[in-house]
C-alpha cells in the first residue's frame, strides 16, 4: 500500500522547506502570494507565504517571511543550508488575488498585484526563473507543492483546480 506523503502546512507569513516525498501546503491564499522554490536535482522544495511587498514600507521588522523582498532571500538561504544551489532553483507563484472590488481603488486593495510584482522582482534579482504561475483574479487559492516532482497543485472554490 502506498503511504501518503507527509504534509507540512505553511501558515501566513511563515516559510518551510521539505525533502521528497513531502508536500508543502498553504491554505486560502487571497491577496497573499505563495512563492514555491524547487531544486529538481536534490528534490527539495521550499514555500513562503508572503503577505506584503516590502519590509521597508512597514513598521514590523520582526518577521522577514511576511514580506516578498525579505522572505524570498530568506527561503533561498534556508534551502542553501540543505545543500540547494540558487542557480538550480526554479520558482512557481500562486495567489495575489483581489478579493474585494471597491470604487476608487486604494493601494491596500491592489495589494495582491503589488505582492506578485514584488515577488517577481525579488526572484529576478536572485536570477531564479519563474517557470509557472497562477496569480490574480478575485478568488482564493489553496496550494500544494510536491517535493517529489515539483508540481504545484492549485485548488479554488468555483474556479477549478489545476496543476502547474
Amino acid at each position: 500500500m502506498m503511504q501518503s506523503p507527509q504534509v507540512t502546512q505553511v501558515g501566513m507569513a511563515q516559510l518551510a522547506t521539505a525533502l521528497a516525498p513531502h508536500v508543502l501546503k498553504t491554505l486560502g491564499l487571497g491577496s497573499c502570494v505563495g512563492v514555491c522554490l524547487y531544486d529538481a536535482r536534490l528534490r527539495i522544495g521550499g514555500m513562503v507565504h508572503i503577505m506584503l511587498p516590502e519590509m521597508a514600507l512597514y513598521q514590523d521588522k520582526n518577521n522577514a517571511s511576511k514580506y516578498a523582498d525579505t522572505g524570498i532571500p530568506l527561503l533561498v538561504r534556508e534551502m542553501g543550508r540543505l545543500g540547494c544551489v540558487s542557480s538550480r532553483l526554479t520558482a512557481k507563484l500562486a495567489g495575489g488575488a483581489q478579493m474585494f472590488a471597491f470604487a476608487g481603488q486604494s493601494d491596500l486593495m491592489r495589494i495582491g498585484t503589488r505582492n506578485v510584482d514584488a515577488a517577481r522582482l525579488a526572484l529576478h534579482q536572485l536570477a531564479i526563473p519563474v517557470v509557472a504561475e497562477h496569480v490574480g483574479g478575485n478568488f482564493g487559492r489553496t496550494i500544494e507543492l510536491s517535493c517529489e516532482t515539483g508540481a504545484l497543485g492549485v485548488r479554488t472554490i468555483g474556479h477549478g483546480s489545476f496543476t502547474i
Binding site: L27, G28, G30, D60, L108, I111, F139, I157
Partner: protein, 204 residues
C-alpha cells in the same frame, strides 16, 4: 510592537460591543419584521495566524461584506457569515431554500450587503456614541470564497504593524434558527489606544 490589552480594557470593549450588537439585533429585527434574540457576543484577541481556524478553517467557504471606515479611526470592518448562516438569512429574507454551495444571485448578494450595512452601522453608531469619535462607512463590497483568502486582505491592514487582532463573534437567534455573524474590526494598535482613551481606559 506590544499591544496586550488589560483585562479592564477587554471588559470595556466587551460591554460596548454587547450594547452595539444589541442595537444591531434591534435593527435586524426591524428589517426582518420579527423578533431577533442575541447571545452575548464573544470578544477575542487572536494571533494573526490563528484567525482562519477560529472561523472554521482557512478553506471554509464564507460570505464576507467589507466596509472601509473613514473619520477619526480609519480602518476596515469585515462582516462574515458561514454558508449555513447565509442560507438561513436568505430563507428568512426571501423564503428561498438554497443548497449548500449554490451560487448567490445578484439580488441575494445585494440583500446580504444591505443586512451587513445595517448591522455594521448600528454597531458603529453605538461605538460612536460611547467614544464621541466619528465613523463613516463606505459602500459595502462583497466576496464569497475561502475564509483564509477573504480575511488576509483585512489582516494586511494590521499585518504591517502587529500580529494580533480583535474579533467579535455574534450569534443572532430567530427561534431555532441561528445566524452566526463575525465582525472583524481591525484598527492598528495606535488607533485602538485612541478608542480606549475615548472610553476612559486609556492606561488601564
Amino acid at each position: 510592537m506590544v499591544n496586550d490589552y488589560s483585562p479592564l480594557q477587554l471588559d470595556v470593549i466587551r460591554e460596548v460591543t454587547n450594547i452595539g450588537c444589541g442595537n444591531a439585533a434591534t435593527a435586524l429585527s426591524k428589517v426582518l419584521n420579527k423578533r431577533v434574540d442575541m447571545e452575548v457576543p464573544s470578544v477575542q484577541l487572536l494571533q494573526l495566524a490563528d484567525v482562519p481556524d477560529t472561523l472554521g478553517g482557512a478553506e471554509q467557504p464564507m460570505v464576507a461584506i467589507m466596509f472601509q471606515i473613514t473619520g477619526d479611526i480609519p480602518c476596515s470592518i469585515l462582516f462574515m457569515l458561514d454558508q449555513s448562516s447565509v442560507n438561513r438569512m436568505l430563507s428568512i429574507l426571501f423564503g428561498v431554500n438554497k443548497a449548500m454551495g449554490e451560487q448567490l444571485t445578484p439580488i441575494e448578494q445585494s440583500a446580504l450587503m444591505e443586512v451587513g450595512n445595517i448591522l455594521s452601522s448600528a454597531y458603529l453608531g453605538s461605538l460612536s456614541e460611547f467614544t464621541r469619535l466619528a465613523f463613516q462607512l463606505s459602500v459595502p463590497a462583497f466576496a464569497m470564497d475561502m475564509a483564509g483568502a477573504i480575511i488576509d486582505i483585512a489582516l494586511l491592514q494590521m499585518g504591517g504593524f502587529s500580529d494580533t487582532v480583535l474579533i467579535i463573534e455574534n450569534t443572532f437567534r430567530d427561534g431555532e434558527d441561528l445566524v452566526k455573524a463575525n465582525f472583524l474590526m481591525l484598527p492598528d494598535p495606535a488607533l485602538m489606544d485612541r478608542i480606549f482613551t475615548a472610553l476612559g481606559v486609556g492606561n488601564a
